[in-house]
């Protein structure tokens, strides 16, 4: 958790900005999304009805001495102390929103949680007793030298062998762990618990297991993990630590998704909720409060800015937000307000949503002309870019439609749509609904859950009891195979249009 103090009279979000603490504001402070929540102590004007209504939508656990408020609406009078959660969701927890806390006997010892993403690897070190975050290291997965997606990595093992890819990731993790330990001034021996999550293929490669069967139908994994072993098997220096590898559901709905279920509470009894992780592979799960269904769908790399003519990762200079101003002109904002260099996934969605509003692109995706410049940024989207987005969007939206059909639910019957993944957290829900990526009826119920896989890994590190919850949930989940699903095939074609209708 991050603690900051801010002094000013006025809006808390402005005060935080002035204090150099830039809070993610998905709706740009338009008071619609309810996602800029923080814990505040100090003199504040009580929440008005609108804020209270937004706050009531996503109940948060209590933090003694603090009130949970939305930074875009909370008026402050003087100095306040603010707690934001940088391990987003460690504050939030599973069943019944109770805090999951350490269940061991050495509260001063350290925990380590790692998420091996196909693209990005993130490692956290935190004190187990009070969950204080001590170090965070994030790097590009060094296996990208062997291909950017899961299938090309699997393909690469045919020529260089699984052992080579295992060596790459283990060497990288060892280096990241050293860096993190140096930052904290702690010893490797202080770590007593570790959890490593990731998709099923990433954990196979961590273990040096053969992965050929993961690349072809019926996509059979060697193991689905869900096991505790000594951490020194992988990191010889971690002599005091146990390593937990969370359970997966299948090859394409892996331990990372199960961690996301734990972090968001999707699949807990009683609540009908949806979890969507938007990435190269879109993974989603829906619970009707009793049963739990999940699936995975290949969206391709468009949401990461790849395969888009001016695409780039979400780095300074990437256009991240686009809008239609009152005077009819197209406005845009880049990350860190730098000179525009390209466009990232959230910018792409926002730009196309704006072009649809401005009637520069019609609902079939046809563009006026062959390219459209985003305002005066010098960055343009081409007709081919829009087509790539249509494919990516259709895969996710049709996956959601298929899960809802399996569950016999209408979108509006769900109480929360949890958006996981770095991209999901920064994407504006209005733009996502604008291009038909997410169901319009859920726009008011979107909750950004950040890197839910990593949050889940933190919870599993803190609490052995939570491992049982994760394992039960993985065992209970019913995977819906989309490739041969008649609803998916129909909806996939229909969802390629931005209106999501079959425009015959």
């Amino acid at each position: 958790m991050d603690k900051v103090t801010a002094t000013q009279t006025g809006l808390l979000s402005d005060a935080l900005d002035a204090a150099g603490h830039h809070l993610p504001m998905p709706c740009r402070g338009r008071r619609t999304c309810g996602k800029c929540g923080v814990y505040v102590a100090g003199v504040t004007v009580p929440a008005d009805e609108h804020e209270a209504a937004l706050l009531a939508r996503y109940p948060q656990p209590e933090l003694p001495g603090y009130a949970f408020r939305l930074a875009c609406m909370c008026q402050i009078r003087g100095t306040v102390a603010v707690v934001t959660s940088s391990i987003a969701g460690v504050v939030v927890a599973d069943v019944g929103m109770e805090l999951i806390s350490y269940d061991g006997t050495e509260p001063q010892s350290l925990g380590c949680a790692i998420d091996i993403g196909t693209t990005t690897v993130t490692l956290l070190i935190f004190r187990l007793g009070d969950r204080e975050l001590l170090a965070e290291v994030s790097q590009l997965n060094h296996q990208v030298a062997y291909g950017s997606d899961v299938l090309s990595r699997i393909d690469a093992t045919a020529t260089v062998g699984s052992a080579r890819l295992q060596d790459v990731i283990v060497t990288q993790l060892t280096g990241m762990l050293d860096t993190a330990l140096r930052q904290t001034g702690a010893q490797a021996t202080d770590i007593t618990r570790m959890t490593i999550t990731g998709n099923t293929t990433m954990l196979h490669l961590l273990d040096g297991l053969p992965v050929r069967s993961l690349g072809v139908y019926p996509f059979t994994p060697q193991t689905l993990f869900g096991e505790t072993r000594p951490a020194r098997d992988i990191f010889p220096g971690l002599i005091n630590a146990e390593l937990y590898l969370p359970p997966g559901i299948s090859t394409y709905v892996g331990p990372d998704v199960v961690c996301g279920l734990l972090a968001t509470g999707v699949g807990a009894a009683g609540q009908a909720e949806l979890l969507v992780d938007v990435g190269t592979n879109g993974e989603m799960a829906v619970s009707d409060g009793d049963r739990l269904w999940c699936c995975s769908t290949a969206a391709g790399p468009a949401f990461e800015g790849a395969e888009i003519s001016a695409g780039m990762p979400a780095l300074p200079g990437a256009i991240e937000d686009v809008w239609l101003a009152d005077d009819g002109r197209i406005g845009y904002r880049t990350i860190a307000r730098k000179r525009p260099k390209g466009i990232c996934g959230s910018g792409l969605i926002s730009a196309v949503s704006t072009f649809l509003d401005a009637k520069l692109v019609d609902e079939t995706g046809a563009m006026r002309g062959t390219a459209i410049e985003i305002g005066n940024s010098g960055i343009s989207l081409t007709q081919a870019d829009v087509r790539r987005l249509q494919l990516a969007k259709a895969a996710i939206a049709a996956g959601i439609d298929t899960l809802l059909a399996e569950a016999g639910k209408q979108a509006e019957e769900l109480s929360v749509l949890h958006l996981a993944g770095g991209f999901g957290s920064y994407m504006s829900s209005e733009s996502a609904v604008g291009i038909g990526l997410l169901p319009p009826t859920l726009i008011e119920r979107v909750s950004a859950s950040g890197n839910a896989a990593l949050t889940g890994a933190v919870l599993l590190t803190l609490s052995r009891e939570s491992r049982g919850i994760a394992e039960q949930r993985a065992a209970r989940a019913e995977e819906v195979g989309l490739a041969t699903h008649p609803v998916f095939m129909d909806r996939y074609i229909e969802q390629m249009s931005f209106s999501g209708d079959d425009n015959v």
Partner: protein, 213 residues
């Protein structure tokens, strides 16, 4: 606008009811079924194919158009055969073993059918043995193989080898396609042709049968 142009337009817009009404009107006006097919339905599909390659239209529009084409064909085909016209040839199509992708494969099948081929679709995850079996059973002129995963394109060669092993290679033209497939790969594995999209596959199939489209 003349009826044939209207028909071409209706197909491009995927308007099934309009297309069927125009076919009836054309037949009533004395236009031959063959002409309605060639200069109406197929002309429309061809123009749409050009737009598709320029990204001006997208998969849903092509699917809708293919649907209109096939509904029109159900009326026209019996009339063409009755008038002494022939099918262009017989095609067996399928997605290779280990791969469940079928949108592209279906589109190619629909377009081939629309352009006058008899199409036997074996579905997805089809083993090399099943392709060979289907060749023995249906004696197709053309075998179309689809693979969409980098992990399954190797299977294309597997099917071609199995066909050769069964002694059937010189009886059939083999076309391959799918997102990761390239014309270099097609040559390397001994296929007879590669097509980038459904419209190109139809042109190529017609060319291989020695029929100008």
């Amino acid at each position: 606008m003349p009826i044939l142009d209207q028909l071409s337009d209706a197909v491009q817009r995927g308007r099934v009811r309009d297309a069927l009404a125009l076919i009836e009107a054309g037949l009533a006006d004395g236009i031959t079924a063959q002409k309605l097919l060639d200069d109406g339905l197929l002309a429309g599909i061809e123009r749409l194919g050009v737009k598709f390659r320029k990204n001006e239209v997208w998969v849903p529009e092509v699917m809708s158009a293919a649907r209109a084409l096939n509904r029109g064909l159900q009326i026209l085909r019996p009339l063409i055969i009755e008038a002494g016209g022939a099918l262009k040839g017989r095609v067996v199509i399928g997605t290779v073993h280990g791969d469940l992708h079928d949108v592209g494969k279906n589109l190619v099948g629909l377009m081939l059918e629309g352009s006058g081929f008899e199409v036997i679709d074996l579905g997805v995850n089809v083993s090399a043995d099943d392709f060979v079996q289907a060749m023995v059973e249906h004696e197709p002129d053309i075998l179309c193989l689809s693979a969409l995963l980098t992990t399954t394109i190797g299977e294309l060669r597997g099917v071609i080898d199995a066909v050769a092993h069964a002694g059937l290679r010189d009886r059939v033209q083999i076309l391959v396609g799918g997102a990761p497939v390239t014309s270099d790969l097609a040559i390397a594995i001994g296929a007879d042709g590669f097509a980038q999209d459904a419209a190109a596959a139809t042109e190529l199939a017609s060319r291989l049968m020695g029929l100008a489209q």
